[in-house]
């Protein structure tokens, strides 16, 4: 019987396919990303990358709703991650081909 662990465990899904670095062409921030399919994205920021992000800095908090002032994500970074996946620089775990005609996949 081993001593119970108290550390933070690694996502089991990362054992076979870890996160990979991706740079954003807009602000130069580097994050870690992983895609299990074309429409799934895991994204780990650092404080430095977040400080660099242009969209983050221009997001204004003006909503009267309690949850609507949070930064939902960076569109430039989303595009950069997708471009890296299309270019083969970021692995896509699923072997399904890139859906090139969105109308065919409603």
């Amino acid at each position: 019987m081993s001593t119970p662990r108290t550390d933070v465990r690694l996502d089991v899904r990362l054992e076979a396919a870890p996160m990979q670095p991706v740079g954003c062409g807009t602000c130069g921030a580097t994050v870690l990303a992983r895609k299990s399919s074309w429409d799934q994205t895991t994204l780990q920021w650092t404080a430095a990358a977040l400080a660099t992000c242009a969209e983050r800095r221009t997001t204004t908090a003006g909503s009267e709703r309690p949850n609507r002032n949070a930064f939902t994500g960076c569109s430039a970074l989303t595009a950069a991650i997708r471009a890296a996946a299309v270019a083969g620089q970021l692995d896509v775990q699923s072997d399904e081909p890139l859906p090139t005609n969105p109308e065919a996949h409603p």
Binding site: T6, R9, V12, P66, N67
Partner: protein, 377 residues
């Protein structure tokens, strides 16, 4: 080769022996300002909550430092709580103010008092095992809709969950598939964002034909879908903004889903609802909708509880790619269980996870069709 190598074992780490640092909602202020002491079992202790003549709500350790009397069985006198045993009077600051039969109060006559916050009709207490006061930047967002006449008053529920650590309910924030199997939802979009002390869940849902009323009516209209932005602000207090889409209008609701630990193996779950009174909807209909939504949520939590009662605690969940970020959520949650100086960037750095709902939605559409076929007989 042995079978031992092939079977995945469930691993259970040492459960937390402390309670999360953060603001915890104890209930609605209106229910706690009746001039009577209220007993609250929280953080492995017994607390007394009382409001004096000045209206201030105070939270103290319930046991009198004199001879151990239970202050929650006492009487509020002025701005103090009087012990039922010998009438020692304790103020909201934790100090003994008066002993009616004594010339003077002895030295060090001070008990534990808890920092409180009354905001938007709710009472919060600050729990910190290190005893530090709440930092100015650790707050609960305001909900201005609570004071708005165009919204209903709180409908509030409380239930005690025995035999489960409160981590089980926090796990729900990333568990997309359980919303289909346990809560009769149909998630079509699901994304989590964790940053600092907040954990967000963005979820869109489709209506489910197999759980709709067979004959929709004006009082029971068909929900076409939902848009939800939910977030834990700290370890235990979730605000969920849900818009229900009907054929001819959208109705906005704000739900609270919060809890406080009784001990390591039980917690009090509370949830509240306010509903926007849209033009064309009478106040009575809006209240009715709030009540109905409350009942639906109550039913949903009962479904959760049935699972929690018999499930195992598991620290090495086996996940498929269509599951949410359980490990990263627990990494975020861990920040509330370590000393504040031991919080690491990996616990608080921004993390995003969007699920691909393509395959789940195919499977669920098929299951809904099967259920409908079975209903038709």
């Amino acid at each position: 080769m042995t079978t031992h190598d092939q079977i995945r074992q469930i691993e259970v780490d040492a459960g937390p022996r402390r309670f999360a640092r953060g603001w915890h909602c104890l209930g609605l202020a209106r229910d706690l300002t009746d001039g009577k002491p209220h007993q609250i079992n929280a953080f492995g202790q017994k607390l007394v909550v009382f409001a004096g003549e000045d209206g201030t709500i105070n939270v103290l350790d319930a046991y009198c430092r004199h001879m151990g009397g239970d202050l929650s069985q006492g009487i509020v006198k002025g701005n103090e709580i009087a012990c039922p045993f010998h009438d020692w009077r304790w103020g909201g600051d934790g100090r003994c103010k008066q002993i009616p039969y004594a010339r003077r109060v002895p030295l060090r006559a001070r008990t534990a008092s808890w920092p409180t916050l009354v905001q938007d009709g709710m009472l919060f207490v600050w729990n910190d095992p290190q005893g530090n006061p709440p930092p100015a930047d650790v707050t609960i967002p305001r909900i201005p809709q609570v004071d708005d006449d165009r919204w209903t008053d709180w409908i509030w529920y409380e239930t005690v969950i025995e035999g489960a650590n409160c981590r089980e309910i926090v796990d729900n924030v990333v568990d997309m598939a359980h919303f289909f199997y346990i809560h009769y939802s149909f998630p079509t979009y699901f994304k989590n964002v964790f940053e600092g002390t907040a954990a967000y869940q963005y979820m869109d849902g489709a209506g489910r034909d197999d759980v709709r009323p067979a004959t929709p009516s004006r009082n029971n209209p068909t929900v076409l879908g939902t848009t939800s932005v939910a977030a834990y602000h700290g370890p235990s207090f979730m605000i969920d903004e849900v818009t229900y889409h009907y054929e001819d209008l959208d109705v906005d609701t704000i739900l609270i889903n919060c809890h406080y630990p009784i001990d390591e193996n039980s917690f009090v779950l509370q949830y509240g609802i306010i509903v926007e009174k849209k033009d064309g909807i009478s106040d009575a209909d809006a209240e009715l909708m709030a009540a109905k939504t409350g009942k639906f949520i109550k039913y949903g939590f009962e479904q959760d509880v049935a699972i929690w009662k018999s499930k195992a605690r598991i620290d090495n969940p086996l996940l498929c790619e269509e599951d949410g970020p359980v490990y990263q959520l627990r990494r975020w949650y861990q920040q509330f269980y370590v000393d504040v100086e031991d919080v690491t960037p990996e616990m608080t750095d921004r993390f995003e996870f969007e699920i691909d709902t393509t395959r789940p939605n195919e499977a669920w559409r098929a299951e809904v069709e099967q259920n409908l076929a079975a209903r038709r007989g």
